[in-house]
Each structure stands twice: as C-alpha cells, then as structure tokens.
Symmetry: C6
Subunit: 230 residues, 6 copies
C-alpha cells in the first residue's frame, strides 16, 4: 500500500466518503477561498504543522477541508504554536472577509475550535498574564462538590477576566490573520484558483501553488487535523 | 405528478391539512395583512429566497402561511441574507402595526425565530463586531464540565453584550421592515386584497399582485420555510 | 337541553359542584364586592369579552366566580385586549381596597394570572417598547443547551428590564382599575348588593344591575374564563 | 365526650403525647416566658384568633405550646391579621429578650414561620407597595420552563426588593412585639407565673391571668395553630 | 460497671478504637497544644459545658480529642453559649498560632464546625442584628419550589450580609480565643505538658493541671461533643 | 527484596510501566528542564519533603516525573510547607519560562494541583487573613440544603475574595520559583544535563548533581508524590 492509499483511507475515516452535492459556482468559489485561507495561514506560521492536503470536495457535513499534521507525535504545545493554530483556524473567515467583504455562517466550527483553544490557554494552561498561573476552568474529573479545588464556582470577576482575555487573544490572532492574508493576497488567489481547477491539492502542490518552500520532510506519519467548512 | 401536486402534498406534510375554523372577518383581514407583510418583505430583500406561495387558509395551529425557498440547496449563509430573513419574519408584525396601529400575540413564533437567528449571528457565527469572532453560546455537543471550551459559564458581561447586540440587530431590522412596508404601502394593500379574494396565491400571482418582477426561475426544488401566524 | 342547562353543566366541570361551606356575613359581603369588581371592570373594558355570569356560591377552592367569554373563538389577542384582561383580573383586589381599605390573600390567583399575562406581553409577544420585538422568555420547547436561541441565559440586565416592565404594566392597569371603580362606585355597590341578594347573576341581569347595556348578542358559544376567588 | 376531651385528643394528634423530659428550672422558666409572650401578644392583637390553651408540658420536639384558633373557618386573611400573626409568633423571642436580655435558639421555628408569612405577603399576596400587585414567587405548580409566567427567573433587583420588604415587615412587627410586651410587662409576668404554677392554662384562665377580657364566644370549633418552642 | 468503664466504652463508639500510628515528637507536641487550647478555652467560658476528658491518643482520623458535655440535657442555647463554643472550637488553632506562630491544616474540621454554628446564628436563629429576626437559610425540609418561604432564592445582598456577619462573629471569637490563651499562657503550657506526660486527662486532672476549679458536679450524664484534630 | 526493588514496584503502580514513545530531542530536553525545575525547587524549600527520584522516562500520560516523599507519615501541614509544595509544583513551568522564555501546555496538571492547594488554604484551612478562619468551600459531605452551614451559597463577594487570594498566593509562589531558579541557574543546568545523560536519578545522585547536601536520612518509607509532566 502506498502512502497515498493510506492517506486516502484515513481521509475517509476522518471525514466520511466524498459526498455528491451540487454547489453553486459561487459557493464552490467561496469554499476554495475559505480553504485557501486556512491552508496559506497554516503554511505561514513559523512553528506550524505542515499542510498535508487541501480539498474542496464535500465530505460529510464539510464542503472542504485542510489537513495539517506534525512531522511526528507532539507532547506539549507552546503558546506560540497555539496562537498559530488559532490564526490558521481563523484563516477561512478572514479570507471570506477579504475577498467578499461579507461574513458567512460557514466558519461556525472554526470559531468553536478557536474559542476552545483560547479558553484553555487562558483558564487551564496559564498562558494569560492577566489570569496568571492558576486553573480557573473545571477539569474533566472535577466533581464540584467533592473536589472544589479548581475552576468551579469561579467568581463573576474571574469569568469576566477569562472572557476578556479570550477575546483579546482571538482578536489579536484575527488581526494577524487578516494582515498576513492581505500581505500574501496574490498567493491566496493562486492557491484558490489552483484549488478550483484541481479540487484537491497534495502537500507539495499546495506549497508550490502558494509559492512557498515546503517544510523539510521528516518521517511522514499522517495524524490529521482538519479545518472543515460546512 | 405535476409540480403543483407536489407542493400541495408538501404543504400538508409541513403544515397539516387545511383546518375548518371560523375566523371573524376582522381576524381574516388581519391575517391577510400579516402574511402580506411577510411575503412583500420577503420579495423585497435583495438576496432573499423567492416567495413560493401565500395562503390565509388556516392549517394546524397557523392561521396563514408564507412559503419561501431558495432556487437550490444552500450551504452557508451571509450575514446580509440572515438580516433579510429577520426583516421578512418581522414583516407580519410590522404590517399589523402599520395597518392597525396595534400589536397582537400573533407574531409570537415570528419573534422566537427572529431572536434565534439573531442570537446565533451574535454568539455563534461571529457576526457582531462588539462580540467578535468567538463562540459564546454553548454548542449542541457542549458538555459543560467535560469540554468547557466555548460558551459555557460566559460572564454576565458577555451575556449582557449578547443581549444588547441581539436587540440592536432586531431593532435595526424591524425599523427596516417598517420603512420598507411604508414605502410599499400600496403594494401591501394590493397583496392583502388579492389574498382576501383568492385565499392562496402561487408564486407568479404573488409577485404580480405585488407589482414586482418574479426572480428568474432556475431549478424549482421546493424546500419550504414557513412564516406561520397563529 | 337549554342553554342554561349547558352552562350549568359547564360550570360544574370547571369549578366543581357548589360546596356547602359557612361563610361569615363579612366574608360573604367581601366576596360579593370582589366578584363585582371583576365583573364591572370586565363589562367596562371596550374590547373585553362579555360577562356571562357572576356568582358568590362557593365552588371547589373558590368562594365566588365571574365568567367571561368571547362571542366566538378568538385567534390572536391585541395588546389593548390583554390590558383589559389584566384590569379585570385586578378588579377584585381593587374593589376590596376601595370598599374596605384593606388587602387580603384572596387575590393570590388573580395576581398570578395578571403577572403571567404581563410577563408574556413583555417577554414573548414584543409588547414592551423597552424590551423590543425579541423573545426573552424560554419557550415551551426550548431545550437550553440544544437550542439556545431565545430566552435562555438572558443577562441579569434583561431580566431586570422584564421585571420592571411587568411592574409598570401591572401598576398602570391597577391604577386604571381603581380609577374606573371609583368613577363607577354606585354601579359597584348596585352589583354587589344584587349579588348578595341573588347569589348568582346571569348575563342580562349582571349588565342590568350594573346599569350597563349588554353587548350585542352574536352566536352564544360559552367558553368560560374564570376569575375565581379563594 | 366533653369538649376538653376533644381538645386533649386533638393535642395528642398535633403535638404527640406529653414527653417525660427533665428541664432545668431555668429552662422551664424560660419556656414559660416564651409561651406567655406568644399568648399575651396573641390576645392583644385586635383581629387575632382567640388563644385556646397555653402549656409548658414538653410534647414531641416542643418544650411548650400556645394554641390559637378562629371562632370559625376563615377564607382569606387581611394584611392586618397576618401582621398580627407575625407579632404573635415573634412574642416568644421578644419575651426572652425583655426578660433575659439574651436570645436563644428556641425561636428557630418561629422565625421560619414568620419569614414564610412575610415572604408570601410580599411576593404572592401583593401586600408590599414597593413590590406592587405582582406575583414574584414561583407558585406550587410553576414549572419554570413550561410556564415562566410568574416568579421564576426574577431579577436580582427583585429578589433584593423582596428580601428588604420582608425584613421591613418583620422588623416593624418585632418592634411592636417588644413595645406591647413592655407596656404589658405585668401581665406577661402574671401569665408566666400562672403557667409555672399550673403548667397548662385553658382559654378562660389564660385571659383571666393575663387580666384581659376573653373574646365573645361563638361556635367553638377548635382548629389548632401552634407556636411551639423546642 | 464503673463510670470510667462507661465513658471508655462511649469513647470507642464515638471515636473508634485507639489507633497505633507513629507521630513525630513535633506532631505529638503540636497535638498536645492544640487539644489544650480547646480544653482550656472550654473551661474558661462562663456558660460552657464542663470538659470531661482530653486525650492525645490518635483515634480514627483524629490525632487527639477534647470532650465536653453539659451536666444534663439542654434544650435551646443562648447566643452567648454558642459564642463560647465557637471560641473553644477555635482554641486549637489559636494555641498553634500562639505557640508556633504558624497555622496548619489540622483545624479544618474545627473551622467547619465554627462556620456552621455562626451561619446558623446569623441565618436561622436571628442572632445578628444586621440580618434581623428572619430566617435566611433554607430549612431541612424546604422544598424550594413548593415552599419558597424562607431562605431559598435569597438575594445576593442578603448572602453578602450573611457572609460578612459570619465573618464578624468568627473574627471576634478568634480574637477572644487568642487573648484568653495569651492571658492564660502558663496554664496552656501546664496543660500541654501534663498531656504530653499522661496522654489522657480525666475531668478532675484536666481542671487541676489547668489550675482551675472544676465546675460543681451535678448528675454526670456524659453526652460527648468532640473537638477532634486530624 | 531490596529497597530499590520496592521503589521500582511502587513506581510501576503509581505511574504505569515505562512507555516506549519517541520524543524529539527538543521535547526530551524540555522535559529534563521541567523535571529539574520541580526537583531543584523541591530540594530548596526548607520544610520540603526529600526528593527521592527524578526521571524523564515517559510513563503513562507523563513524559517525566519527580518523586518527593516525607521521611515518615505526616499528619497536618503548615502553611509554609504548603507554599513550598506550590513553589515546587510551579518549578516545571518556571524552568521552561527561564530556559525557553516560552510557556507550554505541559504544566496543566501542575497548575491544577497548585490551584487546588491554594484554594483549600484560603477556603478550608483558614490560611488567608483576608478570608479569615472560616470555611467557605463546601465540604465533601455538605449536602447544601440539609446542612447549609459552610461554603454553599457563598456570596459573590466571598467568591471574589477567594479567587483573588488564590491568585495572590500562587503569584507570590511563582515569583519565588522564578527567583530561586534564577539564583540557582547553574544547579538547574547541572541537574538537567545529568538527567539527559542518565534519564533517571536516584535520591543521592539528584542532590549530588544539584550540588546540595541530601537531607539526613531517617526511616526511609517511600510514600510517593509525583509532579508529572505530560
């Protein structure tokens, strides 16, 4: 079995079989820009995981997908890496805003993912100076009455602080996403057009169409992370 | 089976069989203006779905209905389109206010729908600048203690912000609904009178009586959305 | 079966059989004024449903009852009509305050009904300008986590607004109830004395003793609404 | 069976059989003052129910008891009558404060009863001008999500208002209880000493030792209300 | 069976059998001061229950214990007596602070007991002037929706008042505990050293080593209350 | 069985068998600094438990581990000892910040532990002057409605106070952790390099490589506490 067979099989498991649905040309184009936004920002983050594949073939609930995965398993993530992931996840929405000057519902799951990462940075991983190195979110095993040690029963002021820190991080990342896409607008266009033509781009093509050098290849063990667009 | 048979069958499934109830002439007239308000505003929104049918024959709990459906399945909605849907859904109440200068309980489900859309625009789809591109409503799968990533335990300040943004969007849309109906008062009257005479208007008649050009026809696959009036 | 048989049967179903309890003369008199307050205000509201019967024969938990029902089934209620119902429901308490200058526990269920109507006017039917045309009460089918569209998780500020609007509406209606009963004090006395003498007054007698013209009779289909007094 | 047999049987049902426990002389004296405070204030309220019996024989959890019951069944209570009941229920504590200048845990259930009455006056019976004629406590049948009409989800400001009105009513009543007992200190002493001597006082003796005229006797149907002291 | 047999049996039931655990000399000394703090303050409170036994033999989860019990069953407690109990319960911690100038986790259950008493003084027994003679804690039988009479749904302001009154009472008592132990430091030392030498002190020895006259003996019915130290 | 066999067996029970996972050199180095931070600070706290073993062999979910255990069982902990444990638990994160100037998700469970200890210091063990010697966290057995004595229904102000005291304690400890590691940077480097070379360091080696005198040996009963790093 060749590697491409393997990744194809993996894709099916992760996203379901390709689905025959009829997108309007406008929707197909918007999907191409949305995925290109994810992919281009994914490629541009210094510490980001390599982009493995981009596709605008609808699968399951998603109209398109961008795969990224690290060269090898990772244990522990730096704050900078997590910001890069937030920037990448906001890339779909940022591309739509830049290209169409209009926002759609298509980024719903991106925003959920982004918020989830940012809330954990602030409330569980001590990555906000304003909140400090304390845990203020209840943990998975927190039984509030039995072990009220951590985030349960946080005061309103703490919840407000978490909300505003989450907002700050996401806003900063979104501004970076917009700025980077504007700086690399030509590459966004090139990638989107390539995607509209080829529907699916493999790793090397993705970097090539974006005019970027692919990351040095190490062991290629594909553990996929998807930034799907419904 | 002709298309009209199909849409008739669909209507029964969606709204139940026509119900023999005795409306007073006043209630019948108010229903006609209410549905005409929905329909006329539905037709007037630039990006809106075509109006397929208007009816003041009581069905199930509803005294009348306005059907709108897109030319083809849609995947992802722009903020502008959603505002148009809010405007249309408020059209029944706006028509009653303009014509009778009195508000009734008949718009209860319209207001629920309107609030639901606006809350998701603000809290799930990132369409309010004040709230930003974060998710602040719990998602369908959010198990608050296990995955506290998103909207769970939002601070009071965030909830206040969501409420006031929802209010702002709905107010803006309601003012637009009132303004558009006042501008097109003659067309509202024409549509309501046609409805009182014919009880049910098909797509072409609806646009004709409203004095508007029907949208260009594409594939006619009726997926109905109802703005029912109880 | 004559109509009176029918309404008698209906009364038994709605209020239970007449109960043999021994009221003191004072309690009987207070009940007469309480029911007369409901009935007279019911008759005086311009858009109100006709008063069908008044009684001070204890039934079930109630010491007396005032029946009102529309000429025919109604679908949708105007804000003005709902205010009239609040005024009528407050009539029992208002009469006690005017006649005895003392308030009793007897209006408990009236106040519940009044609050329920006012809260829905404000939070579900968009009848408060301060709250606007949004739904801020959870609907009967609202599953907060699955469909957080509407009233769930309203902010404290919104709840405060709802409370103060409810208070405003009820206060305005109560002041109107007091003012109307004071203006029509003679009619209140006449009605109460007739009730003490006859125990039960039918529609025509009720209007006659109150010195008011009965509403024009249309189809007489009795669907009873009760303002009971425990 | 004589009436005294009847009331004795009733006492057993209501309070349990007399219990052989050994009170210290100090505890017995305090109980006598506590019950005398209840009884004397009960006798002094203009609209109060007659005092039927006072006892310092421990029964069940109670060290003593004061029975009051109306001449006949009552339906609906005036605000003034309810204030009188609060004053009487606070009489035990007020007597202890006046006589011993010390407060004990013995009034726990009195305070619960007092708070319960005051909260319903304010939140259910419309007897506070500050809260107005609205229901702000959830009713026994209120299913918050299905019928959010009444007190559910009251705003914090409303809850604060209820708390402060409850506090105001109870404070006013307690001050009246203290003032009346101070004015009638001799009668309090007489009653307490009679109680220490006789252990149980029937209606006529109770009024006689307190130097008060008994209320005119009407039908004597004893429905007991207890102000027990643990 | 002699009395000492009886109290030994009672001890086993209450605290479990003596446990063979190896305390360091430092821990054993700290335990001796902790129990001596409880015991000495227990002896010094004017209205306090006599101290029956002190022990630093570990039993169950406790490293030591101080028994106090009244001369006879008591019914109702004065506010002053309850303050005395709080002072005694804080005596262990106060002794540790005075002797070692360091606080340990060993007073956890003392603080729970202290808080529990103070909260009930404030919220259930009307012993705080700031809160007044009202019940603001839910009672054991309070079913909030059915009987919302008492402490359920207290406003935030009331909860704040309860918290600050609890804090005031406990602070006042703790300052008294510190002051009394400082005044009687020699007696604390004497008691702790006696305890280190004898491990268990009976009533007469306890008072003798503390240099205090034992309370006059009345009926000796031991109902134990423990101030255990883990 | 030699002691080392015993501790090896214990390790397996506590952390699971060593796991064969492939860390990148960077991750392995970061783990070494993280564990060295825990260990060095553990050794430096005056009242701390001796460090028994340090390891960067992944086990279960942990990439490394530092074992500390007291010379003998302890009963009751001083506030100073608890602060030392917080400092030690923050040592992993502090080392990463000093060495890499970047924070990672690897300290998640450290922060949970730190917060848990600090919250109990403040809310259960009376170790915050601002909160005082009261219990403000619900205990494990607190059934809020039945025994509302302690931390249940704490006011918002109290929760805010707890949060800010927790924050203060953790911040102070973190600053100490940073300061101590900066002062002992050479020792941190030495320990980390030794760990990278040997993978596991026993007690004597750990102290020797850190250039510190091992604590005097008493009975060596290993009860392990781990500061694992995932």
């Amino acid at each position: 079995m060749e590697l491409s067979d393997f990744t194809n099989a993996l894709e099916k498991i992760l996203l379901g079989t390709a689905r025959k649905i009829m997108l309007t040309p406008g929707e197909r184009e918007r999907t191409a820009y949305h995925e290109s936004g994810h992919a281009l920002l994914g490629m541009l983050q210094p510490a980001g995981d390599p982009v493995r594949k981009i596709s605008i073939i609808p699968r399951g609930r998603a109209l398109g997908a961008t795969f990224q995965s690290p060269e090898s398993d990772r244990y522990g993530f730096e704050a900078g890496y997590l910001r890069g992931r937030i920037i990448g996840a906001l890339g779909g929405r940022a591309a739509e805003e830049i290209v169409y000057n209009e926002i759609t519902t298509g980024a719903e799951s991106d925003l959920e993912q982004v918020t989830r990462i940012a809330r954990q940075m602030v409330g569980r991983w001590g990555m906000s100076e304003a909140v400090g190195p304390v845990s203020v979110l209840p943990g998975p095993l927190d039984e509030p009455l039995l072990f009220p040690g951590v985030g349960d029963r946080s005061s309103e002021r703490t919840r407000e602080l978490v909300d505003s820190e989450v907002r700050r991080i996401v806003d900063e990342c979104y501004n970076q996403a917009l700025a980077q896409l504007r700086t690399h607008r030509d590459q966004l266009e090139a990638l989107a057009h390539a995607l509209l033509e080829h529907e699916t781009l493999d790793e090397l093509d993705a970097y090539r169409f974006a005019g970027l050098a692919p990351p040095e290849q190490l062991a290629l063990r594909p553990a996929a992370r998807t930034a799907a667009r419904t």
